[in-house]
């Protein structure tokens, strides 16, 4: 099979065509057209229509090339520069009218998840580095992603809205007024030092794993290239940093015969990596030069069965990092686990009724884990705080839309006597209203079953019989409170599913 991925990036529109070759993919063609969309988005906030015109032309050209190879699948994705353009909707519409193409503008989190999966896939082989905690670093053009990786899973992640191109576009005006441009970037980056330090507090990072043009170029300067993985010890990096730090982009571009824009992002990246080395105390940088977004997407298309494992890994990482967020806010672990367990059970039994997907199950699971997290701020109105914390957090593997769903579920989870009418009006403009409602009903039920936060009901059995949902418990304990709670929340459930939950006690 032959597949192609067009990536509309900050500097280039790139197009990769690949075919599967047993266990690997074989890139047949790699095109790069320099369009510098980032220059538009990061300075004026909008993408000019001249560029939209060129972009459309190039897309049609790429389509030709795809046809030349008989590509069966063509995927077009956009990243930061498109995502952050204020006039995105008009641009997408224009492109569609001109070319017939629909562009999938990737969510920042999505983009990073793809990269992390690719990094894991490549990194897994290097067992000796896996003994300690590892920091994954992805410096995009518009944002920087960090993730900690231990025991084969990503257990926490951070996303910082500052990228190599973005920072140089922002600081461009200042560049002329400073001798040490890299110092300037470093000063700017200092804002992030403390938060990252706190975030990494319980970690022992020895290695950080990364990819990208800039670090690849830097590795090249150290005479490392042409290998699957490049290892830069911290001392070597420091030396390089000392050599380059006093140069500005013009000097750098002249010295290494690169474009000035590339020199700029190189300087920013240099400062980023330096900061991360300092904060994390890592001893090595491992660079995987072949990893990039398009590769990851091509892999997923061409070797989908092989890739399934990485999606599973990612899902597990989502759950682990949700729990870790919970821990950070001192959540009530047993209650959270009980609700999670009940919610999953209910979800599975109700499958014929709600017909939601595996993905939704994951969202419900995350909501179950985190629903009470707001109590860390204040017990009063804790649902509101839960909402805010979840929405403001980063959970690896979830898109911002999904995070929004999860936080909304948490927001409504506790309201006593939630009337479907008021509720509906509150969610009026949410596109995922039905989805949220279905999952919310399950979570409310699960929560009610552990109203005392004592896991009193133990292992429950759930059966769907006609329009009755029979929940059987074998607990010898008093369950009056639970029955009361169930009653208070069952109205909503009935409204949503037309099914009445009943608690049955069998000792």
């Amino acid at each position: 099979m032959v597949a192609g991925v067009i990536n509309i990036g900050t500097e280039n529109i790139s197009f990769d065509i690949a075919q599967n070759d047993q266990d690997d993919i074989d890139i047949i063609e790699s095109l790069d057209y320099p369009l510098f969309l980032g220059r538009d988005t990061f300075t004026t906030g909008r993408i000019s229509f001249e560029k939209v015109k060129i972009l459309s032309q190039k897309l049609l050209g790429f389509k030709r090339v795809a046809e030349e190879y008989g590509a069966n699948k063509l995927q077009i994705v956009g990243t930061t520069a498109l995502r952050e353009a204020e006039n995105l909707d008009f641009i997408l519409d224009q492109i569609e009218t001109r070319t017939g193409f629909t562009i999938d503008v990737l969510d920042d989190y999505e983009e990073k998840s793809h990269i992390y999966m690719e990094l894991i896939r490549n990194f897994e082989k290097y067992k000796k580095y896996k003994r300690d905690d590892v920091l994954f670093v992805y410096i995009g053009t518009g944002s920087m992603g960090l993730a900690t990786y231990s025991r084969g899973l990503i257990d926490s992640s951070q996303n910082i809205k500052i990228g190599s191109v973005k920072v140089s576009e922002m600081l461009r005006d200042l560049e002329e007024n400073t001798l040490h441009y890299s110092n300037l970037i470093r000063e700017y980056l200092n804002t992030f030092y403390q938060p990252i330090k706190v975030w990494l507090i319980n970690k022992k990072i020895k290695t950080f794993v990364t990819c990208g043009n800039e670090i690849e170029f830097l590795a090249g300067l150290l005479g490392k290239n042409e290998e699957e993985v490049l290892n830069i010890p911290q001392e070597e990096f420091d030396e390089l940093f000392q050599n380059l730090k006093s140069k500005n982009a013009t000097e750098l571009s002249r010295e290494y015969d690169i474009s000035e824009s590339k020199a700029n992002s190189l300087l920013s990246a240099l400062a980023f990596y330096r900061l991360l080395l300092e904060v994390s105390g890592a001893e090595n940088i491992l660079v995987f030069p072949k990893v990039n977004l398009s590769k990851s997407l091509l892999f997923q298309v061409l070797l989908s069965r092989k890739y399934r494992r990485f999606f599973n890994l990612l899902e597990k990482s989502t759950i682990i990092s949700s729990r870790n967020i919970g821990k950070r806010y001192f959540y009530e672990e047993t209650h959270s686990q009980t609700v999670e367990k009940y919610a999953m059970k209910l979800f599975d039994v109700l499958e014929p009724v709600h017909q939601l997907s595996k993905r939704h199950r994951l969202l419900l699971q995350v909501a179950a884990i985190l629903h009470d997290i707001g109590k860390y701020v204040n017990i009063k109105k804790h649902y509101l705080h839960s909402y805010n914390i979840i929405k403001g957090s980063e959970i690896i593997g979830l898109t911002s839309r999904e995070l929004d769903i999860v936080s909304r579920i948490a927001y409504f989870h506790s309201a006593q006597d939630l009337e479907i009418d008021d509720y509906s009006s509150q969610l009026e403009n949410t596109p995922d209203k039905i989805l949220i409602t279905k999952m919310l009903a399950i979570l409310r039920l699960a929560d009610a079953l552990d109203v005392a936060h004592e896991s009193k009901l133990g292992d429950i059995e759930v059966n769907l019989e006609g329009n009755h949902l029979i929940i059987t418990t074998h607990t010898p304990k008093e369950t009056l409170l639970e029955e009361w709670a169930l009653k208070r929340k069952d109205n909503f459930f009935l409204e949503v599913y037309g099914i009445l939950p009943e608690l049955l006690k069998k000792v």
Binding site: L31, D32, G70
Partner: protein, 712 residues
């Protein structure tokens, strides 16, 4: 013009920027044309081939004036007085060109009148003069004139009220001085119609009788000007500036822009005026004034202007004994009889040497690609296609068969613009994706890429060449073709097409050297490498076969190599700005030029690399225009047997002792001296070898057939 390099041989620092180390480009080119002229004089060549060589010197010279001399004239007009690499200003150059060209013209006509015409006459090919026409022939000519020529001839009168007419460049005109009843003088012109042969073939009992069209017009001149008296009538020819000036930056549609500037070529400013020797003063003065031509650029011709039309005689039918023995380009044993050309290329890389081996294999490759259902796409560059071409047919066929066909047509290929525009339009109509090359760069690389879907996935086949995809010249030009399906080559070629179509920026090249980005550097690096080898105690050796050597940075590097002790053997057909035998600079360099039956056109580069030779073929000469203003490719040849073949070919070129001319320290080209007991002519040797190789192959095939176990 021999510039004696100063005899002060103090072993002082040598400044390689010194003018004295370089030859002027134009004068070197004229030397080349002299070498072609030598072939017209060479009695060992068959008679009609000698006529052809003379004709070629004339058409060469015409283009030289249209482009090069016109350029210098423009510089002179603009007051530019900068010096070229040999220290000459445009004025100096024009003066020297004029001197040399006058000498050349003299030699051309000497050759024609003293050698060729008498010899032709002996073979019963006669060019009749007016007074040699008998009644019967006259009747034929009168009839021909009335029915055929007269209707298309348009005389143009000139007087105070009418401006000087625009006479097209390069054609022959008759200038006429007239007198009316009031004895008032006026002038008129008759451009010779270009749609008929210049030489009229009059039926005659024995041999061939030819008659010049201009003489026919002269015979009937009074018919054009009734009421006037013809005082004088004689021929002249104008050469006009033929360099198209296109502002590519502003050109919205290159095709339209070039089409319209092609019209300008007809009206470019006059560079040269040739007049019949016996032209009267009145007419001559009138022409010189009207055309505003410098004296240097006026050539008085004894007889028969524009020798390029001698090609008509050279191509006369029925005189095969006066031409080179027919040689049929041989099939390559590697491709011969194989159904699946792709399979052959999959097994190993293939090299062809045209015209010794047949260009048909290249056509066949394209034909198969156009018909093979597994082929998805074809991409090709076209520089000079020629007037008729099966290549275009197959590209169109491929598009009709639903393949994605991309063709990069260079519409700026000089003197082929019209052809190419024609092809471009036709290809576009057939549904091919036609690209007109890049702004400011001519696409000169010769590349053909075929994308095929095979069981194991996508595979790409590449053909690259030193010569154009031109069906006609493929039989006359010597070139190297290379086929491969190695991924690294294919990726580079594919990437190059993506740059040409404007879809991508240049990648890091895996195999190819590509102008204008990395070609010069690659050459310089390999030359330097030879110097390193010598420094480390090894033997350095470079052999280069090109059409022209003009790039100063390359010449400097070669001088340095020679100074370091590297042996440099150059086979440069045409312009060579490098000088040999300069003490302390170029003693280790030899230059030879081979002019023969086939036009030497391949570019082969050999660097000994301490016993692990590096071999390249290329579309690029060593001229600044090739390295800076064109898209060219340098192709490494890595398969051992092919490397050896190229080395063998180069050695044959170095062995030629008859058609080769060696550059002397005084700037002259001389045939190798020494005992001529064994004559060695490289082109003949290569023809022989190709024949032998194929015969041997066929024999072996037959033997194999007989060796099959016999059935009982």
């Amino acid at each position: 013009m021999a510039k004696t390099s100063s005899s002060k041989t103090k072993e002082k620092k040598i400044d390689l920027n010194d003018y004295k180390y370089y030859n002027n480009r134009e004068l070197s080119w004229l030397d080349f044309n002299f070498r072609v002229l030598e072939e017209a004089y060479d009695r060992t060549n068959p008679l009609l081939e000698r006529v052809k060589f003379l004709s070629i010197t004339s058409s060469n010279l015409e283009e030289f004036f249209m482009i090069r001399v016109a350029g210098l004239e423009e510089q002179l007009q603009a007051g530019f007085s900068g010096m070229d690499i040999s220290g000459l200003t445009p004025r100096d150059q024009l003066m020297k060109i004029s001197q040399k060209t006058h000498r050349m013209v003299e030699m051309q006509y000497n050759c024609l009148e003293k050698e060729l015409l008498p010899s032709l006459e002996k073979e019963n090919i006669k060019v009749l003069k007016v007074n040699e026409v008998d009644e019967e022939k006259k009747e034929f000519l009168d009839n021909y004139f009335q029915t055929t020529v007269f209707p298309v001839v348009t005389p143009m009168a000139v007087d105070q009220s009418r401006p000087f007419p625009i006479l097209p460049g390069s054609g022959i005109n008759l200038g006429v001085e007239l007198e009316d009843e009031k004895r008032e003088k006026l002038f008129a012109f008759i451009p010779l119609p270009t749609i008929f042969p210049r030489f009229i073939n009059i039926p005659c009992a024995d041999g061939t009788c030819l008659f010049l069209t201009e003489d026919l017009l002269k015979m009937h001149s009074n018919l054009f000007f009734s009421g006037y008296k013809v005082i004088e009538i004689s021929e002249f020819r104008i050469t006009r500036d033929g360099d198209l000036s296109i502002d590519e930056d502003d050109a919205r549609d290159l095709l339209i822009e070039i089409e319209s500037s092609l019209k300008e070529r007809r009206t470019g400013f006059p560079v040269k005026l040739e007049i019949s020797q016996n032209m009267g003063k009145n007419l001559k003065d009138f022409l010189v004034n009207a055309l505003n031509i410098r004296n240097d650029n006026i050539y008085e011709i004894p007889h028969l202007l524009d020798l390029s039309s001698l090609m008509e005689i050279a191509n006369l039918k029925g005189y095969e004994h006066l031409k080179f023995e027919y040689y049929s380009p041989q099939p390559s044993p590697i491709f011969y009889g194989k159904e699946d050309i792709f399979k052959v290329i999959r097994e190993k890389d293939v090299l062809l040497h045209r015209p010794y081996e047949s260009f048909e294999h290249v056509i066949d490759f394209l034909r198969q690609a156009a018909e093979d259902p597994q082929v998805l796409a074809i991409k090709q560059t076209l520089y000079r296609v020629g007037k008729t071409s099966p290549i275009i047919d197959y590209l169109i066929k491929a598009a009709e068969n639903g393949k994605q066909v991309t063709v990069v047509v260079e519409v700026k290929a000089r003197f082929d613009e019209e052809n190419n525009i024609q092809w471009a339009k036709e290809l576009e109509k057939a549904g091919c994706h036609v690209v007109y090359g890049l702004v400011g760069l001519k696409v000169h690389a010769k590349l053909l890429l075929v994308v095929r879907r095979e069981e194991s996935g996508i595979r790409r086949y590449v053909h690259m060449s030193t010569g154009n995809y031109n069906y006609i010249t493929a039989r006359l030009y010597e070139d190297i073709d290379f086929f491969t399906c190695k991924e690294s080559y294919a990726q580079d070629v594919s990437a190059l097409f993506n740059i040409l179509t404007g879809y991508s920026k240049p990648p890091t090249w895996k195999k190819l050297g590509v102008a204008p980005t990395s070609l010069r550097e690659t050459f310089l690096r390999w030359i330097d490498n030879e110097i390193d080898v010598v420094k480390k105690g090894g033997k350095g050796k470079i052999i280069i076969k090109v059409n022209s050597l003009l790039d100063v940075s390359i010449i400097k590097a070669l001088y340095k190599a020679s100074m370091a002790g590297v042996k440099v053997d150059l086979i440069v057909r045409g312009i060579c700005a490098l000088k040999v035998g300069i003490k302390g600079v170029s003693e280790g360099i030899t230059v030879r030029s081979i002019v023969g039956r086939y036009l030497e056109h391949s570019r082969i580069y050999y660097f000994e690399n301490n016993g692990l030779p590096k071999l390249f073929i290329s579309s690029a000469d060593l001229m600044p225009r090739n390295l800076d203003r064109r898209v060219e490719s340098l192709i490494p040849i890595e398969q051992e047997d092919l490397k050896q073949r190229l080395i063998d070919v180069l050695n044959l070129y170095l062995k030629d002792n008859f058609k080769a001319r060696e550059l002397q320290p005084n700037g002259e080209y001389r045939k190798p001296t020494g005992k001529k007991s064994s004559l060695f002519i490289v082109q003949e040797e290569l023809m022989k070898e190709a024949k032998k190789r194929f015969r041997k192959f066929i024999k072996k095939q037959e033997v194999d057939k007989f060796n099959f176990p016999k059935l009982k």
